[in-house]
Amino acid sequence: MRLGSFSRMHVPAFLRGAFWLGLYLALVLAPLFVLLAGKTPPGRGFWWEFSSALGYAALSMMGIQFALTARFKHATAPFGIDIIYYFHRLISLLTFVFIALHLGFLSLASPRYVLTMLSPFTTSWTGRAALAAVVSFVLVLVFSLWRKGLGISYERWCLWHGILAVAAVAFAIVHIEGAGYYITAPWKRILWTIYALFWIGLLVYVRIMKPAVLLRQPYAVETLRKERGNAWTLTVRPEGHKGLSFRPGQFAWLTLGKSPFAIEQHPFSFSSSAAHPELLSFTIKELGDFTRTIKNTTIGERVYLDGPYGSFSVDRHRAPGYVFIAGGVGIAPVTCMLRTLADRSDRRPLTLIYATRTLENATFREELKALQTRLNLSVIQVFEEPPENWHGETGYPTIDVIKRCLPEERKNFHYFICGPDPMMDMVEAALYKLGVPMGTFHSERFNIV
């Protein structure tokens, strides 16, 4: 047994989560403790110093954003990577608040100074670096929050997000090095340099070291099959290596037909059984710029996989039975779990509530029927536009539908929800109202930007 799997088995997820959150806090607050330590230069008044401290904290938070998206498996496992990305977004907004307060409090301390600083014509080079950092960071936020509204493709967004984020941190470092009021002591300057090198190291790890490892583990497209519901199943085979083993319900970042050093990567759930890692399948619905091109993939084309990731798995949440609630292509990770449970001859009671627009749109319809013969599985389909003479559930998976469909004997069951965001919000609210303990329902959201 590997050490990693041993530690995962014996340390509860909440303890591992607390450890990583504590480490994050320590890294964010470290610059403030460094400011407080040792001999400090004379103060310049409460608002000025409050502003300075918030500026340092904001820079620290900006730098550690690179760690949040570096996809460290041990760090993301207790939370689920979708929540790490959500947290990354929240922290960006909090950082923006601190940057605004940094400027606001400085205005309180010395309005004339701030007015001079804000003009790129009258300010010093330190001030210009600060302005460039703020502009870069604001652009990162605007492009991320309103990407679709601005008509920016995901691929172009990935590129500019990276460039602007690095620019924001680099300009902010130049600003504090130039202002330098609290880093005049040699040991403080060394600490800040180490901190900046740590951020650069994260970039090197994500953009160079990790892709270099992936380069040695290529995959080739084995088959491409059309599915119901405007989806395609892409199956890949490892080339010259053992491939990766994963837990049912997890996902990987896929780079297709390009070098693993390409910035463009897309997260997709495995849809094949985890019991057969020699062939890995992903079921991808045509929804965006990249997914619409998946049908053009050629057999034998080179693919790189970064994974597995995610905590959305029956293997992470042991229970006497499971309820799956899927919408649209959200059926992909659920099918992966059902296929794996069937391959393991699992006889625990399973319920699947599967919502699609029409009968024809129901991806894996025939296979789900076949899986019912191998599993203790009941499938309830919900159609928005039901076929003629349909006597089953219609509309959306509302609280009434879920209440009717849940098994009577469901004590200690766990619930897995995957589908479009509005559906997941509705289902989570319904389960909560039905008295299902919050810790027993799990969801995964890929709508990152």
Binding site: L25, G43, R44, F46, F50, A53, A57, I91
Partner: protein, 88 residues
């Protein structure tokens, strides 16, 4: 639920950073704390030069000048140096 926890963690981090930043600002700004003047009167270092030819203390003792006053003097009145620091 996980999103709610992410929100709570973000709010907690925000509060911690604000609190620590405010603590730093208070430590660097003693005018925010109460210093009874009579406690320091007469205990301060004497001025090591004459004050007849060096009338304006701020010419040399502001934070950015050559002999800045110590950090715990922030907020003291700019014309009040000789209240505590007397010539020899």
């Amino acid at each position: 639920m996980r999103r709610l926890l992410a929100w709570l963690a973000t709010v907690a981090i925000g509060i911690l950073v604000l609190a620590l930043s405010a603590l730093f600002a208070v430590m660097q700004s003693p005018e925010e704390r109460h210093f009874p003047e009579d406690r320091t009167r007469g205990l301060a270092h004497p001025v090591p030069h004459d004050i007849e030819t060096h009338i304006d203390c701020n010419r040399c003792h502001l934070p950015e000048k050559i002999f800045p006053y110590p950090s715990d003097h922030t907020g003291f009145p700019e014309d009040g140096c000789t209240e505590c620091h007397r010539p020899p």
